[in-house]
Symmetry: C2
Subunit: 412 residues, 2 copies
């Protein structure tokens, strides 16, 4: 089954928001073996939407539309599709009751325009909206399937996972199993990785190998197709072993994980706690660590010591250390990491100090970063980085390097 | 001039990354009066890309492509366009020298496949890449303009701003001026705002009014067209005044700003400093504040007091306060805000304590948040929120509410 995702909304064409829906749907569809060959974005304009539907109808079996199901006057997706495929709209009683219930539950008065949201394509399978008002729907016209989903990700994502995917796999019937696995690497560039895997990439067929650089990381997606899921997994296992033999030193995890998540799992697994002293990263390390549920078992706390006063008065860095070496120094990073662990009574301490940019600081260019890692009973280690991104990218990379250093020091 | 943005990359169709390039380019093009009517995403597949180019050629004057200019074998954008419009590729000496220089500067060895990046469409205007290797280019074929840009946003964005926009406006010549302004609101829903502005939206023509909900905020974009820029601005000023008369209480800023940015500007303007004690937000407030360049003049520092120990031992919250009220309480928020300001010697202190979720805490449901705001010489204020999002959304909203409270307390 070949699919295409059409997002409807002028806000996308004006650059006000990202089309995160296309990304979410694509990843979900890939996981059940549906090929997505195109994404299209079109504005709240019925005639341009109709032309897009014509093009899509010629090349795709499954056409998924997001957006334009809301209560306001520029929400015209249902009306345009109804006209395009020649069906009427009808009020869905279940959806109407759910909309009225939603207003009651949140103690708000229903404005009249909300009634429009309960209209569906006559004869379609209605997909309930458990997190909002506009229902979704799936309509089959000949060999072509149309799925309409609401625009807000908080409504669309749970609806698609719970009701959309089963509706699609039912239509697909039996077919070859597809198994996909993403290997994640940090500390190696895309071209360098591809050069090391060149012969494997060259002769790929099943499984396929797709390297991708993003956010200072490289991922490699392996995808195998086979009648037997077990055999598809075996094919991927074998290829993975070959790849890790060459670039395993940079490998840190599988699929949707992240460096911070891998770090959190390892700390949890070992029953270790951590504290942080963050200067240039301004709290980013701790913010990311606390985004993982259950972080309170790991993170004792930390200090955002953005000023030298805070480094000296709160984190107890010796005044002479900063006078002699500056705050952008290995010596300062070392004391910050050690003192953070002591102050909060944690097993580990991490520190970040440096120059995020755009201006230089203490004679160091933007992108100079020192990271300190202290682990009880071991000598404190520090690492100097010279990053070359924007202010924000330097901060993000610094945090990733910190995670890598921590993960490595937990290995030993 | 009507434009269309084509992003090339199978990683987009697999849902590995968001098409942030389309958003960035759309916003930039809107600001110079280019209408973007379509976004398309297609994989690293020459025959599907060629079909997409055919469709685009029929409906758009300016076709901007991103991605597929890199060194690896699946980077085929240039080759496909060259074939589609019938031009050759030629080595650009300037780009080649720049690529060699890039490897020298970063102390890396150039692999042979990097040479491919210096090939450009013969006769095109080359757009230098100041942050990476693959140059961009603009090629005019009859009435149709093709612009090719690299995929990584860190390279594409500065290239487009510095070289791409001037290349486009030169081709556009004279035409009606378009002025656009975004009004940003926090604390009111989209439907409620639209109901209050219904008659204005109903009779809109010039300027147009486009409300949009995103990330717990609502924005309204006003766009006017006129031969005179001055008159277009006047039309927008008049409409803005009418809108703010009705919903001004929720308005906080214009265009690409954010609550944290507005807060930073107000603190800078008044020469005030701030410190923070963050429990449930885990450092997010400080991380956001330090993403603003020059934050060191505002943020003295803060504590991520994720554990009760940290609240008591580091931020000096009285043990009895927590024993009697719990850590999720107005009393705790008050002491955290006051003590953070004292500890770091700041003019203001802000605190966040509560239950991010998914689990409840101290008998409070997920989403219960207390914020404390202390300003020297004023009584400390606290506010209780009951949020209803996921863990991450609750944290983000808590920080936004904190900014709103601070901005309001600076007004008085």
């Amino acid at each position: 089954m070949n699919a295409e995702i059409i997002a409807v909304g002028s806000e996308l064409l004006l650059g006000q928001i990202n089309n995160t829906n296309a990304r979410f749907l694509s990843a979900q569809l890939a996981s059940v073996g549906v090929n997505v060959y195109f994404h299209t974005v079109v504005g709240d304009n019925p005639s341009r939407l109709e032309k897009v539907l014509e093009v899509a109808g010629e090349r795709s079996d499954l056409i998924i539309l997001t957006g334009g199901l809301g209560p306001t006057k520029d929400d015209l997706t249902k009306e345009t599709i109804a006209k395009h495929i020649g069906v009427d709209l009808a009020l869905d009683e279940v959806a109407m009751a759910s909309i009225e219930g939603y207003f009651k539950r949140t103690n708000r008065v229903m404005t009249e325009n909300n009634r429009k949201q309960a209209l569906v394509l006559k004869g379609s399978e209605v997909l309930p909206n458990d997190h909002g008002m506009a229902p979704g729907m799936m309509f089959t016209s000949g060999k072509r399937h149309y799925m309409l989903l609401p625009g807000p990700p908080s409504e669309m994502e749970p609806m698609f996972t719970k009701y959309g995917i089963p509706a699609i796999t039912t239509k697909m019937g039996e077919q070859a199993k597809i198994v996909s696995r993403v290997l994640r690497f940090f500390g190696i560039g895309e071209a360098a990785l591809e050069t090391k895997l060149e012969d494997l990439i060259e002769k790929q067929s099943n499984p396929t190998i797709a390297p991708l650089a993003s956010e200072s990381e490289v991922t490699v997606r392996l995808t195998a197709r086979d009648q037997s899921e077990e055999h598809a997994i075996k094919l991927i296992d074998e290829l993975e072993a070959k790849i890790l033999e060459r670039v395993g030193a940079y490998f840190y995890g599988y699929n949707e994980t992240s460096l911070i998540n891998e770090l959190a799992m390892r700390l949890k697994g070992r029953g270790l706690t951590i504290a942080a002293a963050e200067s240039l990263t301004g709290g980013m390390f701790q913010e990311q660590l606390t985004s993982v549920p259950g972080a309170s078992a790991i993170l004792k706390g930390g200090v955002v010591c953005y000023s030298n006063e805070a480094k000296i008065n709160i984190v107890n860095v010796r005044k002479e250390t900063i006078e002699e070496n500056g705050s952008v120094s290995a010596a300062c990073a070392q004391e910050l990491a050690e003192n953070a662990a002591k102050l909060f009574g944690a097993d580990l301490g991490i520190s970040f100090t440096g120059v995020a940019g755009p201006e230089e600081l203490e004679g160091h260019p933007a992108g100079t970063v020192f990271i300190g890692i202290h682990q009880k009973g071991k000598p404190t280690i520090t690492e100097k980085l010279q990053l070359a991104g924007t202010r924000e990218i330097n901060r993000i990379r610094a945090v990733k390097h910190g995670c890598r250093l921590l993960i490595n020091s937990l290995k030993e």
